[in-house]
Amino acid sequence: MKKTLKKWLEKTIEGILFLSSTITTLTVILIVVFLFKEGKSLFQSTPIEEGFVLAVNKANAAGNLSANQIKNIFDQNIINWKELGGNDEPIFLFRMDDLSNYYTDEELGENFEFVPQRTNEFIDKTPGIIAFFPSKNIDSNFSGKILPIEKTTLKQFLSEKEWFPTAQPVAQLGVLSLILGTLWVSFGAILIALPLGLATAIYMAEIATKRVRNILKPLIELLAGIPSVVYGFFGLIVIVPQIQSLFGLPVGETALAGSIILGIMALPTIVTISEDALRTTPNAMKEASLALGANKWQTIHRVVIPYAGSGITAAAILGIGRAIGETMAVLMVTGNAAIIPHTFLEPVRTIPATIAAELGEAPQGGMHFKALFALGCILFIMTIVVNLTVEFISSRRKNKISH
């Protein structure tokens, strides 16, 4: 009896252990579900502000308009319907507030009860009009044409450059500049971190004495332990002003500042992983090289580094992955301008920084909110690709070593 109880207990505990081991998998799945559910809903909605419509005169021949075209209309970059395939008619912009310019208070009614009617009237008699007004003001016998707005498509989302999620009347949700900004800053970071990190790793693995290594190792760990806000703070106070005065820029918050800080932050990852990789070189190979008359440097250069090549690649990729996902430090030093970067001396805006800076202000369930989740999905996909690549490289490496 006691024995079966004990056995039962062991089984139960094993069950509990099993359940805990599935929690990481479960979390990854939940993250995917929540992120993508919210992100996907962006593509089921039109980018016009919720509760508003765009309407034109019934004689207007222009077809569906994209978010970008509408923005150009309201920015008065497009001033004639002809440019959009309509009649030769200058475009007349109309917003709800303008109504009081054309009608007296009496005509609009004491409680604005005639607003829908007047809006309709006004649209009807102005052939070139494009009107932006709340959908509750659509008159019951509305005679204009409500413009169908195209849904945001994935292609648009990824290829448009303009990121103005709060723009009126339609949000501009192009993330190309954010994606390129993220990659640009990370690329700069790896340019800084890889030579430095690799050199340190080689020094620690092959050149330094054990004592020096025992001092260096905890220092590198310390570098990894410093919180990213502290890096950001340091960058903001020390590096940003330096860059500003060194290059004579109007602002020091640039991609370069971000890359330097991210480079420092990626160092520990690169040092640790490439050092581990360098250490896996079998002694027999090194000794064979030395026995052939090669000196230590030739051995490192021709035997150790090539042998650890894939491990070093993994380190670099993982370093990029870290840089892509880093939020706070980048947010604090890169200036956050959503433009496509051309040099390292311009401000840039990255995906994580955008999410961190804007999510607090985006009303839940709104377009902006959904767009930020879609950005989160892109970020997620980027980092998963990085992880799986590293996983792939290191599993191939393990096979190679065991054979």
Partner: protein, 292 residues
């Protein structure tokens, strides 16, 4: 093939050059670290006082102290550890002691690695939708702790796994030979031996959690809240978020700069203490193991 003195010399010169370049670059890395640490210490030490650490912020966070932020960070660290440590350890035990090399094991490891690679801001998004909205915890210590707990879970699992792996199999076999069951072996033999390394891992993850900002932005952190939390459904201030706020978007950035230095130094202090403790423990226990 000819061997000339010249080529040997050239070879040696190259080696000398390469080694010194590597040495110099390594020194540069250390210098960067020292520069950051000393810069913040130099400016921060003037601000740190008992009063700074134990009083409430005043005057738009340009005066007073950071007490609520310290308490908030303590709450979050405790909360996330209560969640992550047991689950992480149990999970690592299962992976290392119960599963053999199999698809399941590889899959779980892959997922753990993936989870570790997910950027902290994505955890923030996730924590906000799941804990704050869907489960209705609101902006609270509970939501923040769970988010941070998930974030640090892979770290705990990995370090525990390493610790368990370092226990030699002969101890397990010895225990089985004495008639102990698997569970008894794990409890009485494996865990006690792995304990020091597990603790070291936990301490390091405490360091990481206390400095994370992005996951708490939308799950718990309060901009300015000069009172202490009374329960797990309260919002709190936290040190890293406080530093972010007063150095970028405070009402008066210049005047709150000393406060920022002070806060940064406290954060660095936590990291230093955590790392030194972890290293000391590692050293102490490795000596002890050797002695036995």
């Amino acid at each position: 093939m000819k061997f000339s003195i010249n080529s040997v010399k050239k070879k040696e010169l190259k080696q000398w050059l390469a080694f010194n370049v590597f040495r110099a670059l390594s020194v540069l890395v250390v210098c960067i670290l020292i520069l950051i640490l000393s810069f913040i210490t130099y400016h921060g030490i003037k601000v740190i006082s008992w009063e700074f650490l134990t009083s409430m912020p005043e005057d738009g966070m340009t005066k007073g102290g950071i007490f609520p932020a310290i308490v908030g960070t303590l709450c979050l660290v405790t909360g996330s550890m209560i969640f992550a440590v047991p689950i992480g350890i149990l999970s690592a035990i299962y992976i290392n002691e119960y599963t053999k090399a199999s698809f399941f094991k590889r899959f779980v490891k892959l997922m753990t690695n993936n989870l570790a690679g997910i950027p902290s801001i994505v955890f923030g998004l996730f924590g906000m939708t799941l804990f704050v909205k869907t489960l209705g915890f609101g902006d609270s210590i509970l939501a923040g702790s769970l988010t941070l707990g998930l974030l640090t879970l892979p770290v705990v699992i990995r370090t525990t796994e390493e610790a368990l792996k370092s226990v030699e199999n002969s101890f397990r076999h010895g225990s089985y030979a004495l008639g102990a069951t698997k569970l008894q072996t794990i409890r009485k033999v494996v865990l006690p031996m792995a304990f020091p390394n597990i603790i070291t891992g936990i301490i390091l993850s405490i360091g990481r959690v206390s400095g994370e900002t992005a996951p708490i932005l939308f799950t718990v952190a309060a901009y300015f809240l000069p009172k202490l939390p009374t329960g797990i459904s309260d919002q709190v201030m936290a040190l890293p978020y406080h530093l972010y706020v007063i150095s970028t978007s405070g009402t008066n950035i210049e005047e709150s700069r000393p406060m920022a230095y002070g806060t940064a130094l406290v954060l660095i202090g936590i990291v230093l203490i955590v790392n030194i403790t972890a290293n000391a423990l590692r050293k102490y226990f490795s000596k002890k193991v050797k002695m036995n």
